[in-house]
Amino acid sequence: MVALVTPTPRPHEGAPQSAMPAISLSVNGKPVAGEYEARTLLCDLLRGPLALTGTHVGCDTSQCGACVVLIDGDPVKSCAMLAAQAEGCEITTIEGLAGDGKLHPMQEAFRDQHALQCGFCTPGMILTSVALARNNPALGEEDVAKGLEGNLCRCTGYRNIIRAVMAGAKEMAEQGDV
């Protein structure tokens, strides 16, 4: 719930701004460093300067979960986090999941189970599911439904997504990705 108040005019017009914060973090195992405006959202850093456009911005109001990335292993909405808040963190985007030209088991499962149609929500779905599987060794369908409460899909109706997450989690456990 957000307070319904009249938008305040910009109160600090012309106020001198401090130097842009220097940010250094790791994205998909590679170090990234630079100076960006303080208001730069993590999703904008990823999609703009870093050109990692697999992170999708769906609603931009932290409701849809398309922009979820992993930060030190935890799912986070990158549209509701400043790049500066990720200082020193390890970020994993959808581009960082596959290795050696081979899809991650969760990506493979989404393909096998036809768990996507337009694919827009898929990066956030998959990253949220990877974290969910790692945190819950004995994942049930109800856990998956609850775990994906923050990820909206407007195409599939979710049944195939749940099936894919169950299959992907099983494969991850067999490969020791826990």
Partner: protein
């Protein structure tokens, strides 16, 4: 979002200093409310003071009959903590049902109670458990902390360091979540504490409140049936597109019964 100055102090003193120097500063905890509100330009602070690097604000500990949770502890850490699960499983469950996993990775206890959203979950737990909110200079009883809609007893520039919860004999929380946001349409936290039965209600009114009639009824007979015939007036309760005041008043009884039923 308008540009601002970003600060990441490492001590409480530096955080206070940065706050005192800003024209219109704001503390930043997990940012799950602050950043969306800034993106809508409903807030435009001159300075954001990120509390993430202040060690005193972090951590969970259990000593004797007191559970202590640092203000910057995220909901997921509260939900998964072995100490919270053993001493206060109702609180671990409450934290694990806030929002969704991504919100729980970032949103914090301190941020939630400082914002005092009328539909937030934590205020009900703090009030029912008789928790204390610790700032660098004083200790505020939860009952006195939540003063109104989005209003708290915090002074300008006063941070929350930690919250201490006396471990109750038993406690349970039941909420009717808004199906989109998972905020509480109505949430009821019931606890048997050293001071007797306490029932705190969130989501229903402009601010968390205690349901005195429910407490009296449960003091005599701690069972869901004891609440038969006890009701809360819809006067003054929230009414919006999600639920009318009368519906919320009814939900208070339903959620209170569900919470009690979890314990009996």
């Amino acid at each position: 979002m308008y540009e601002f100055r970003y600060h990441r102090p490492g001590t409480l003193e530096d955080a206070e200093k940065a706050f005192s120097k800003g024209d219109d500063p704001l503390f930043l905890a997990g940012g799950q409310t602050t950043l969306p509100v800034m993106k809508q330009r409903l807030a435009s602070p001159s300075d954001l003071i990120d509390l993430v690097r202040i060690p005193e604000l972090r951590g969970i500990s259990l000593k004797q009959d007191t559970l202590t949770i640092g203000a910057m502890t995220c909901h997921e850490d509260v939900a998964r903590s072995a100490d919270v699960k053993s001493a206060l499983p109702a609180l671990a469950g409450l934290a694990g049902d806030i929002g969704d996993p991504a919100v729980r990775s970032r949103g914090t206890l301190g941020g939630s109670i400082a914002n005092n959203d009328p539909a937030a979950d934590y205020p009900a737990a703090l009030v029912a458990l008789g928790a204390s909110v610790h700032t660098p200079s004083r200790v505020i009883a939860a009952q006195d902390f939540f003063t109104g809609m989005f209003e708290t007893a915090l002074e300008e520039g006063e941070m929350i360091v930690k919250v201490t919860f006396p471990v109750p004999e038993y406690a349970a929380y039941a909420k009717f979540p808004n199906p989109a946001s998972r905020y509480a349409t109505v949430g009821v936290f019931v606890a048997r504490t050293q001071d007797g039965i306490r029932v705190a209600v969130t989501g229903a009114g402009p601010c968390v409140f205690r349901a005195g009639e429910f407490e009296k009824a449960l003091e005599g007979d701690f069972s869901a049936n004891a609440l038969d015939g006890v009701s809360i007036s819809p006067d003054g309760l929230n009414s919006d597109l999600h639920a009318s005041a009368a519906y919320r008043a009814n939900l208070i009884g339903v959620m209170a019964r569900r919470a009690v039923a979890k314990l009996s």
